[in-house]
């Protein structure tokens, strides 16, 4: 059974990877569309230069660079495709396949990461060439935990967005929900500024939501800097809990939604 699953995964991934390579120019544009952290980096480097924050401009350069990378590695767009499939009835064909439709979407997202990687590497090299002061070598353990937490962040973010996607069975515009959700994500994830710069009350509230785990936690773990505290084992446990909660909710909604689904051929 495991052998079969592995074969399926390989087939899906190689097909999707080949597909993604066709759209390389588009991938570059998507990468640039995620350049907000590089803009905010400028603001915070200037803030650090004008006001004592206990952090140097170079600390912010690294924070926002790693944030850029984490965002690149955790991009999720499944809701837009799922919504389209439900509205046009294209989901019906997927339902006929002897594999849950979610795996096709997961494969697309994973394959896209690998297709995008070379461009991201070029951009980071360019960044370090332009700004040599920001160069640093992360501690191997920090790098490893940052990487694992980034993968976990991708998984949780995917689970959440795929759960929101289920709303497409009941409303024609699940995408609008995602737009509202995205503002909250920007607000509470540490994208605007390191979470440690937030007022105490806002930070306490943010930590009750999944948002900081999707951005701030992987970034802080990679940087391993005293000004960006993070409790890695605890973060892993919290992320696992959020992940399980959303997967369960997702499966419940999926079953109910399918009963509701009346696309062509269903």
């Amino acid at each position: 059974m495991i052998g079969r699953a592995l074969r399926q995964a390989r087939a899906l991934l190689s097909v999707r990877y080949a597909e993604m390579l066709e759209y390389r120019a588009e991938l570059v544009l998507w990468m640039l569309a995620g350049s907000m952290p590089l803009i905010l980096m400028g603001v915070w480097m200037k803030v650090a230069a004008t006001r004592p924050l206990g952090l140097e401009p170079v600390d912010f350069a690294r924070y926002f660079l790693v944030l850029f990378l984490v965002r690149q590695a955790t991009v999720v767009w499944v809701i837009w495709e799922f919504q389209e499939k439900v509205l046009t009835g294209a989901l019906s064909q997927r339902l006929l396949q002897p594999i849950d439709p979610v795996w096709n979407e997961v494969a697309k997202h994973v394959a896209e990461r690998f297709a995008r990687l070379p461009f991201v590497v070029v951009l980071v090299a360019l960044f370090f060439a332009l700004y040599p002061d920001a160069r640093w070598v992360p501690h191997p353990w920090a790098l490893l935990s940052g990487l694992l937490l980034t993968i976990a962040a991708f998984a949780v973010r995917f689970a959440i967005q795929y759960t929101l996607s289920m709303m497409a069975f009941w409303t024609e515009r699940a995408g609008s929900l995602q737009s509202v959700w995205f503002h909250l994500y920007v607000l509470f994830s540490g994208m605007l500024a390191p979470l440690s710069m937030y007022p105490e009350s806002v930070r306490t509230f943010a930590e009750l939501t999944p948002f900081p785990y999707l951005v701030y936690v992987p970034v802080a773990a990679t940087l391993d800097h005293p000004a960006f505290p993070v409790d890695v084992p605890r973060a892993c446990a919290v992320m696992a809990a959020w992940g399980v909660a959303f997967v369960v909710l997702n499966r419940v909604l999926w079953r109910r939604g399918l009963r509701q689904y009346s696309g062509m051929g269903a």
Binding site: Y23, A25, E26, L29, W30, L32, A33, G34, S35, M36, I39, L40, G42, V43, W44, M45, K46, V47, A49, T50, R51, L53, T171, E172, R173, S176, L177, S179, V180, H183, L184, V186, L187, L192, A193, M197, Y198, V202
Partner: protein
């Protein structure tokens, strides 16, 4: 030969009333659009408050003056959602499906038709919030009636500049069919206009003034609104808008020569 010509304004009025009527079928969406605008504005204001860090001013801008920039940005965001996205985002579809043929055959300017055919009410909450915030913050910053009147000039220039940038990018879809994400890149860069341009370091400032003219979209109108605008910057914003509008028009005509319709 007698030709019946509908006045252009009436034509645009008809376009917009029909598209709003169509969109109004999705009323729950309107609630979401309001939430969306509200959270968007909240996020910007919160981000700016972190940058100010409780201080009275930052990079030469008082808190209320910076709020004027946020207000102008929100107005332009509403314009993007209401007009630019629903129209210019569709050009690519016309090229893909060959329906651009029908547009070119109509007895109105193709550019006008493509730019004004749709109007999405989902941009209205942003426009309302943006105008309200701009007026409130400008008055708090001590703006007089003369400042408000004068600011209409750079504001109009900003709208024309933003439209022209979008139109040029949307026109490239005649060659490159996947255009949605080029406009996404532009939207991301324009986001820099949420803050006054002087909060950025030198390199960013140069980029956002001379390469992607974000400074002319929000900072110049806001400076005029709070009574510290300079004639040189206002003149420059009008000049830039005129130049980009002409360039966009010329580029569209040039691109059409490469359009091989679906039927030929």
């Amino acid at each position: 030969m007698r030709r019946h010509r509908t006045p252009l304004l009436r034509l645009v009025g008809l376009f917009w009333s029909t598209s709003v009527a169509a969109e109004m079928e999705y009323r729950v969406d309107f609630v979401l659009a309001v939430l969306n605008s509200g959270f968007g504005l909240l996020t910007t204001i919160f981000g700016l408050s972190l940058v100010f860090g409780g201080g009275p001013s930052f990079a030469g801008w008082s808190w209320h003056q910076a709020m004027v920039v946020v207000g102008v940005f929100t107005i332009l965001e509403g314009f993007t959602r209401a007009v630019l996205e629903p129209n210019l985002g569709q050009i690519v579809r016309h090229v893909q499906q060959g329906t651009l043929d029908f547009v070119l055959l109509k007895p109105v300017s193709a550019q006008l038709w493509l730019s004004t055919r749709g109007l999405s009410p989902w941009g209205f909450p942003d426009v309302v919030l943006g105008v309200g915030l701009t007026l409130w913050a400008a008055l708090k910053s001590g703006a007089g009636a003369a400042d408000l009147a004068l600011a209409i000039v750079p504001l109009a220039a900003a709208v024309v500049t933003l439209y022209s940038l979008w139109f040029v990018l949307a026109t490239t879809s005649i060659w490159f069919v996947k255009i949605y994400n080029v406009t996404q890149v532009l939207r991301t860069l324009v986001e820099a206009g949420r803050y006054p341009v002087s909060v950025y370091p030198f390199g960013h400032r140069m980029f956002f003034t001379f390469i992607v003219p974000v400074a002319f979209l929000t900072t110049v109108p806001a400076e005029t609104l709070v009574g510290r605008g300079s004639w040189a910057w206002i003149a420059a914003s009008v000049g830039l808008a005129a130049l980009l509008a002409l360039a966009a028009r010329a580029f569209f005509r040039f691109a059409l020569r490469f359009y091989t319709s679906a039927s030929s």
